[in-house]
């Protein structure tokens, strides 16, 4: 539910259509940010802009989010102003796919993933968080919307899943068949 494929599901995206950067209240107070404020998050690899939600139930110097809810606009057949593209953000921009070289001159670099499970090892990234100046309340990086893929059906504005199970002739069946 909390991954890419949730965003093309009309039900799941109502449950979680955009993500926030969650951080401890004490850390947020130190940074001078509160709920709904925007911050920059910077690593050795990149920089993003994200919206904050404060909480107490996390380690003071750790920030976290439900990743992969943010989408490039136009992706997954969503409308350009969908929250996934406006407010959602991705940590992927901060994280290198490869580990650094070990300095022994070898060109081979290891994948930045857990050696046992193969799962992306995203839990040990050091970042700098700073308050973002007031401006557009949209996440960054903000890329141009993707063009629709040829042949993809137009998304319905209203979804009436289940009406096909109603008896034929029911007044609640909008799509006559």
């Amino acid at each position: 539910m909390y991954h890419s494929w949730g965003s093309q599901n009309a039900w799941l995206r109502q449950i979680h259509g955009y993500n926030r950067l969650c951080m401890h209240r004490d850390l947020a107070a130190e940074l001078g940010v509160g709920d709904d404020d925007w911050v920059h998050v910077e690593s050795h690899h990149g920089k993003i802009k994200a919206q904050v939600r404060t909480m107490t139930g996390c380690e003071r110097n750790t920030v976290w989010t439900w990743n992969a809810i943010g989408k490039r606009r136009g992706a997954w057949n969503l409308e350009d102003d969908a929250a996934e593209g406006e407010k959602g953000f991705l940590l992927n921009h901060l994280i290198s796919e490869l580990l650094p070289t070990d300095g022994d001159g070898k060109k081979r670099r290891m994948s930045n993933s857990d050696p046992i499970t193969g799962q992306a090892a995203w839990f040990d990234l050091r970042v700098r968080v700073s308050k973002a100046e007031a401006g557009d309340e949209v996440s960054e990086p903000r890329l141009e919307p993707l063009k629709p893929v040829p042949g993809v059906q137009k998304r319905p504005g209203i979804l009436r899943f289940g009406e096909q199970f109603l008896p034929k002739g029911s007044w609640r069946r909008k799509e006559r068949s």
């Binding site: 039900w11 109502q14 139930g57 979804l159 009436r160």
Partner: protein, 248 residues
């Protein structure tokens, strides 16, 4: 306006354990899936793939944090129709569409009589009513009436979809009018409570409160001296090997 039965034979309802609900929304999604395929269909979604999508859900989960010193916690709070014994949503109904069943106490809406006036959603203090603007009628939790009496299903599946879906076992279904039933004894043992009892609607559904948090090692029954435990298990060689294997 619509009248209520004097009493109901059973008081079928749900009990939700707030101590172990993890907020996964499986109850909400499985509810929507079952009921979108039944006589309430469809549970319409508007702006389905756009900004601010909104749909009909019979079950919604609210997640919030409480601030209470070392008892602070995240609370996941599933909310659906409570099938009240004194449902104002029924007595306010001008057409008889909303009704409470005499045999089991389930509160239902007859779609063929509903005129979509929304009085019931104004009357319900729990926000359990769901207006389908596309159909122009009110819809709500049916306690999966088309499951619990459905003889085409295995007996073990004759429960509301949300109860079956819950991976934590946080949802229970049964007759809350029978003090000897499993569910009534569960409520008694855990000191379950009704929401806003002071309002007088007498909800049948109950909630089990979170248990006090266990913040100290001793609270969980484990030793708070790790070294002592290691000595007792003489597994130091194994752990050394494991540590080396994982550190390579």
């Amino acid at each position: 306006m619509t009248s209520l039965p004097k009493s109901t034979g059973k008081k079928l309802g749900l009990v939700t354990d707030l101590d172990i609900c993890v907020g996964c929304h499986a109850c909400a999604v499985s509810c929507k899936e079952w009921n979108a395929s039944g006589h309430s269909a469809p549970l319409t979604d508007t702006n389905a793939y756009g900004k601010d999508p909104s749909g009909v859900w019979f079950n919604r989960v609210h997640v919030f944090e409480t601030q209470d010193g070392d008892q602070s916690r995240t609370v996941n709070f599933p909310r659906s129709c409570l099938h009240c014994e004194q449902p104002a949503c029924v007595t306010v109904c001008p057409t008889g569409a909303s009704y409470k069943r005499e045999e089991d106490g389930i509160v239902l809406v007859d779609a063929e009589k509903c005129i979509g006036c929304k009085l019931c959603s104004w009357a319900c203090p729990y926000g359990a009513r769901e207006y389908d603007a596309d159909d122009g009628i009110m819809k709500k939790c049916t306690l999966c009436i088309d499951r619990i009496y459905n003889e085409n299903l295995e007996a073990s599946e004759r429960k509301p979809a949300c109860v079956i879906a819950c991976p934590a076992g946080a949802r229970h279904f049964g007759d809350l009018g029978d003090p000897a039933s499993d569910i009534s004894r569960l409520v008694e043992r855990r000191e379950g409570y009704a929401l806003m009892p002071e309002s007088g609607y007498q909800p049948v559904n109950k909630y089990l409160p979170p248990r006090p948090r266990k913040n100290q090692a001793g609270d969980t029954g484990t030793s708070d001296h790790l070294e002592a435990a290691e000595d007792a298990v003489d597994g130091s060689a194994f752990f050394k090997w494991l540590d080396q294997a994982l550190s390579r």
